[in-house]
Amino acid sequence: MAIKVKFFASLREQLKEGVKEVDASGIHSINDVWERATDTTLLPSHVLCSVNLEHREPHESVKDGDEVAFFPPVTGG
């Protein structure tokens, strides 16, 4: 079972990937998804995140089958 992970904009370019899947076992929070998806430990404070297309905070929970996204501050309009 897996969690779908997406990266956008400058973050996608830095990590050199836009979409991937990570094993959902042992994952409880968005922070856990970041660590597994990027092989790093700390989610940078400027990076924003969402679960299933809704803004969320890094400590919030995720479950198998969710789509989690990470992105920089928005600059539309």
Binding site: L53, F71, P72, T75
Partner: protein
């Protein structure tokens, strides 16, 4: 409610006319619209092109939520948000917002709200190409 993400072109007068024609004739007395247009300068540099990225699905949901919030806060009849994505050149429209209401105050206030809310919340990202060919991601919005 109208929310559109346009990948190839935005002609504000055409979008406004089409949306307005979908509203009941005589139902509104005030229309306020805003068009954001790409400049050829930013942060002290000449800019020759821009690429706008979004998060399909999430962005549209956010824009619909923003219009719902405007409808809850002001006595408006309807609202429209159209936003470009993809490659954009200086002078081309980036975003169109419009609000229709019985009287002008609600339309003015709600239209400003739509723009500020989408700039602060909606998942769009700009990447500029400068006149010297270098590219950079825009990391913050300009003050209103």
């Amino acid at each position: 409610m109208g929310v559109q993400i346009e990948a190839s072109g935005l002609v504000p007068i055409e979008q406004l006319t089409r949306f307005e024609n979908s509203l009941p004739t005589g139902s509104f007395g005030a229309t306020v619209s805003f068009v954001g247009t790409m400049r050829d300068f930013n942060e002290g540099h000449d800019v020759s092109a821009m690429m706008l990225e979004h998060y399909p699905g999430m962005t549209e949901n956010q824009l619909e939520q923003i219009i719902d919030e405007a409808k809850a806060r002001w006595d408006i009849i309807d609202a429209l948000i159209v936003h470009r994505v993809g490659d954009i050149l200086p002078g081309q429209p980036i975003v169109l917002t419009a609000v229709y209401s019985a009287h002008r105050a609600a339309a003015f206030d709600a239209c400003r709200f739509l723009m500020e809310a989408l700039k602060n919340r909606a998942t769009f990202w700009k990447k500029e190409t400068m006149a010297n060919g270098n590219q950079r991601w825009v990391d913050k919005n300009t003050p209103g």
